[in-house]
C-alpha cells in the first residue's frame, strides 16, 4: 500500500474456487472440478473453500512481490512482517472467525492480524460516523445494519431478500428477447440510470406510458406535448453532439462485453423500483427498533449505501427519495388542506386581522425522522473520488489498517505473542 494517499483496490478477484473429485480445493477449473462459491452475499457457506481462497490470494501476492522466488531477499525485509486486516460480515459466526484466525496464524504464518466488520469499515471511511445505518447491497440480498456509538448492532440488523440481481430480473421482464449477459452489460453501462422525479418531468420523453421494445417509439413521439419535428431535429442533433443528457434521449447505445453496440429505449431507466421500495420499508422497520431519540435522529441523517449496485447513476438518490416518501414525518396533505381552508375562512371573516395572523403554523410532531439524508462522502481522497464509492468498505479498511497497525499501541489487533498465549479466542479480546 502506498503511503501518501489511499488508492482504490488494485485487484478485483472473483470469489470462486474449485473442488476436485477427491474433495481437494484448487484454483483450476479443469473438467471434473466443481465450482464453489465460498461466500454468498457476505455469508461464509464453505469455510474450507474460503480459507483456501484466502491462502491463494496471499500466496499470489508473495509470489508476485518476490517475482516467483527470483528475488528471495524481499522475504527478509518487505514481506517478513505483513499485517493482515480482514473485512468480516455480520453473519460470520464465532466458530468461523476463530477458525480463520487460527488459519492466518498457523497456516499463513502471519504475525499481526485483525478483523473489521465491513459495516463499521464503511462508517470509518466516511470520517468515523458515530451513529449511522449501513445499507449493503449484495447480489441476492441486502443487509441493513444500524451502527450506534461506533458499535455495530448485529442483533437489530435485517437481511432484505433481494439484491442487485433483482434489477436484472425486472429488466428481463421488460426486455424478454435479451440474453442475461446483455442485461447485465446494460445494467453496468453508463446509460443505465434511475431518473429522479424532476428529471422525468423536465425530460422531453413521456414517462407516463408507452412501453417499447428497444426501438424508436413512434407513439411516444406522437403523444408527447412537444412538436414532433422538434424532437426529431433534436435526435438528429444528438448524433452530431454527444453532450445531450442521457435522460433527454429516446434511445441510447451501449457496448456489450463482445464489443457489439446495442440500442436500448426507455427500459434503461427502469428495473430498480421494487428493490428500492423493499429496502426502504426494511430500513424503516430496522430503525423503528431504536428508541434512543438523539442517536436515532443522527442515524436517519447518515444513511450509507454501499455495494456495486450503488454505482448505477441515480440509484442512491432514488433510494433517498423513497425513504423520504415512506418515512419522513410531516403533516398529511389532506389534513393540511383542511387546516388551510379553515384558516383562510377565518381570515376572511376578520379581515382587519394583522398580517402575522395570516401565517399558518406548521405542526410539530414528536416522532423521528424529521430529516433524512445520505451520509456525506469524503472529498479528500482524490483517487477514490474518481473511482466512485461503491466499494467504500475497502477505503474504511485502509484507513483503519493504517491507524491500527501504524501505531505502537497493539490493543486493536492480535499479535503472535497474544495468539500464542490464548489461542484463536483471542479475537474477542481485541475487537476494534
Amino acid at each position: 500500500m502506498r503511503e501518501e494517499t489511499f488508492y482504490p483496490p488494485q485487484l478485483e478477484i472473483p470469489t470462486v474456487v474449485y473442488k476436485t473429485p477427491e474433495g481437494l480445493y484448487t484454483s483450476k477449473s479443469d473438467s471434473g472440478n466443481v465450482k464453489v462459491n465460498p461466500l454468498v452475499d457476505g455469508q461464509i457457506v464453505d469455510l474450507d473453500g474460503f480459507l483456501f481462497f484466502v491462502k491463494l490470494i496471499y500466496k499470489s501476492y508473495l509470489a508476485q512481490r518476490s517475482r516467483n522466488g527470483a528475488s528471495p531477499e524481499v522475504f527478509d525485509m518487505e514481506l517478513s512482517n505483513i499485517p493482515m486486516l480482514m473485512l468480516s460480515h455480520s453473519s460470520w459466526t464465532h466458530h468461523q472467525l476463530e477458525t480463520i484466525a487460527q488459519f492466518v496464524f498457523e497456516q499463513l504464518q502471519i504475525n499481526n492480524f485483525m478483523f473489521l466488520p465491513s459495516a463499521l469499515a464503511s462508517s470509518y471511511a466516511l470520517g468515523s460516523l458515530q451513529n449511522c445505518v449501513v445499507i449493503d447491497i449484495h447480489t441476492n440480498g441486502t443487509d441493513v445494519i444500524p451502527i450506534l456509538d461506533y458499535i455495530q448492532l448485529g442483533h437489530l440488523a435485517v437481511k432484505v431478500e433481494h439484491g442487485g440481481s433483482q434489477i436484472d430480473q425486472e429488466l428481463a421482464k421488460l426486455l424478454p428477447q435479451w440474453t442475461p449477459e446483455q442485461i447485465e452489460d446494460l445494467k453496468k453501462s453508463s446509460i443505465f440510470e434511475v431518473l429522479s422525479e424532476d428529471a422525468k418531468k423536465s425530460s422531453s420523453l413521456n414517462f407516463k406510458h408507452g412501453e417499447d421494445e428497444g426501438a424508436l417509439d413512434v407513439a411516444a413521439l406522437v403523444t408527447s406535448d412537444r412538436d414532433t419535428r422538434e424532437i426529431l431535429e433534436e435526435r438528429e442533433k444528438n448524433k452530431d453532439k454527444h453532450n445531450v443528457e442521457n435522460s433527454e434521449q429516446e434511445n441510447n447505445v451501449f457496448v456489450d462485453r463482445h464489443g457489439k453496440q446495442i440500442i436500448v429505449g426507455k427500459q434503461r431507466f427502469k428495473g430498480c423500483e421494487s428493490l428500492v421500495a423493499e429496502i426502504s420499508k426494511t430500513v424503516g422497520r430496522v430503525l423503528s427498533q431504536i428508541d434512543d431519540f438523539h442517536k436515532l435522529r443522527a442515524m436517519w441523517e447518515n444513511i450509507l449505501v454501499v455495494g456495486g449496485t450503488t454505482s448505477i447513476s441515480g440509484f442512491k438518490e432514488a433510494l433517498l427519495q423513497k425513504l423520504v416518501e415512506d418515512h419522513l414525518i410531516g403533516e398529511p396533505a389532506h389534513e393540511k388542506d383542511i387546516r388551510e381552508r379553515e384558516h383562510s375562512a377565518q381570515n376572511s371573516v376578520k379581515k382587519k386581522a394583522k398580517i402575522a395572523n395570516s401565517f399558518l403554523n406548521s405542526v410539530d410532531y414528536v416522532q423521528i425522522p424529521t430529516a433524512i439524508s445520505l451520509a456525506k462522502y469524503p472529498e479528500y481522497f482524490p483517487e477514490w473520488k474518481k473511482h466512485g464509492y461503491a466499494e467504500v468498505p475497502f477505503l474504511g479498511a485502509q484507513i483503519v489498517a493504517k491507524q491500527a497497525f501504524g501505531h505502537t499501541n497493539e490493543s486493536f489487533y492480535v499479535t503472535r505473542e497474544k495468539y500464542e498465549k490464548k489461542g484463536p479466542s483471542i479475537v474477542w479480546d481485541v475487537a476494534f
Binding site: 442483533h155 426494511t282 428508541d291 389534513e335 410532531y365 475487537a431
Partner: protein, 399 residues
Amino acid sequence: MSVVIHNGTHTTVAGFSNVDMPQIVCSSSYVQRQDGSLEFVVEGMLIGEDGPVYTMMDAQGVPYNWDALEKQWRWICEERLGCRLEETPVVATVAPDLPDAVRAQYLEMALGRLKIPVFQLVVEPLAVALSLGRNTALVVDVGAAKSTVTPIIDGTVVQTAVARSKFAGDFLDMQVNELLTKIAPIKDEEEGDPNNRKDPSLTLWRNSRTWIQEFKTYMLQVAPSRLQDLDSAALDMMGLTYIKNFLLQKQKTISLTQKQCCELAEGLFQPRSVSQQFVAAEGLSEIVAKSVKKAGASTATSSSATNVTTPEQTHAALLTNILITGSSSLISGLEQRIVNDLSYQFPQYKLSSFANPLVLDRKLQSWQGGVTMANLPSWDLGDWVSQSDYEARNERGSN
C-alpha cells in the same frame, strides 16, 4: 465461552458471553410456518407467512410451551450462533421465584434433551443487581406481561417478599389500542373476505410491534404524582397542558395533551383508574412498598441472634438501592414517580434509585446480567450443573 439466553415475556435475547453485545434479539412468541418450522424473527413475523401467534412463557415469565422453547434454543445455537449444543455451556435467566418443578423441567430440557454439557440457571434480578455491582438491591422490573419487584439482601433473593402484578407493557398496549381505535378507527385492509382475513392474534401482535410500540415510545409519560391530586394550576405549571402531535401510520395526526398521555400510563400505578374490577393494591408503587415491608419482616424473623437485622435496617438498605429495569420502565417519568410515591409511604427513609440511562443497555440489562454471571472468575461461584450431576440426580430420583 458460553451462550447466554434470556427468555423475556416479550423478547428473547441471546449471544455469547465473551462479547458485549448479543447476537440475537428475537420474539418470545412465534408463528408456525407451512412447513412446520417456527418463525421467531421479528422481521419474519411482521412480513412473513400468516398464522396464529403462539407464546412460550406464561404471564409469570415461566415457560409452559417446552416443545417450542427447545426448538427456539436449538435454532438460536445451531442456526444463528453456529455452535454445537453438545459442546456449548449455556446460561439461562429465570424468574426469581421459579418453582422447583419448573427448574427440573429446565434441566431436563437442557441437559437431557438438548445434551448441553454444563448448564446454569441464573436468577434474573439477582444477575441484574450483581452486574451493576450491588449485592443488596430492590430490583423493580417493568416488563411486558408483568411487573416484578425482587428484594435482594447480601446476594440472596428474599423469596417470600417477591411481588408481582400484571400491570406492565402489554397492559399499556391494550390501553393505547383502545384509545386509538376510538379516536382513529383503522380500516381493516382485508375486510369482506373472511377466508383471507389474518389471524386476529397475528394482527394484534403486528400492531403491538409497530404503531402501538411507536406510540408508546413517543407519547406515553408518567405524571410525577397521582393525576387526580393535581389541580389545574399545578398541571399548567408542570407543562402538562402542552399538546403533543403524533402522526399515526403517516395518515392521521393524533393530538393529545401531556395530561392525556399521562392518563394512559396512570393505569400502571392506579389500575382502578382503568376499571373497577382491578385491584388497587396491584399498582406499581403499591407492590414496591409491599415488597419492602415484607422483606423487612422476613429478614427480622430469619436472622440469627448474633447477626440481628432490624426491619428498619432492611428497609433502609433496600430503599437506597432501588434498581429500575425492564423495557417498559423507559416511559419518561416512571422512575421519578416510583420514588415520589415511596417517599409518601416511607417518609423517614432516604431514597435513592438507579435506572440505566442508556436506553439500549436497559433493554438488554437482563441478558447482560446473565453474561456477568457466566463470566464469574471462578467456576465454583456459578451454579453450574453438568451432565454427570444431572445423571447422578436422576439416579437418586429413581432410586
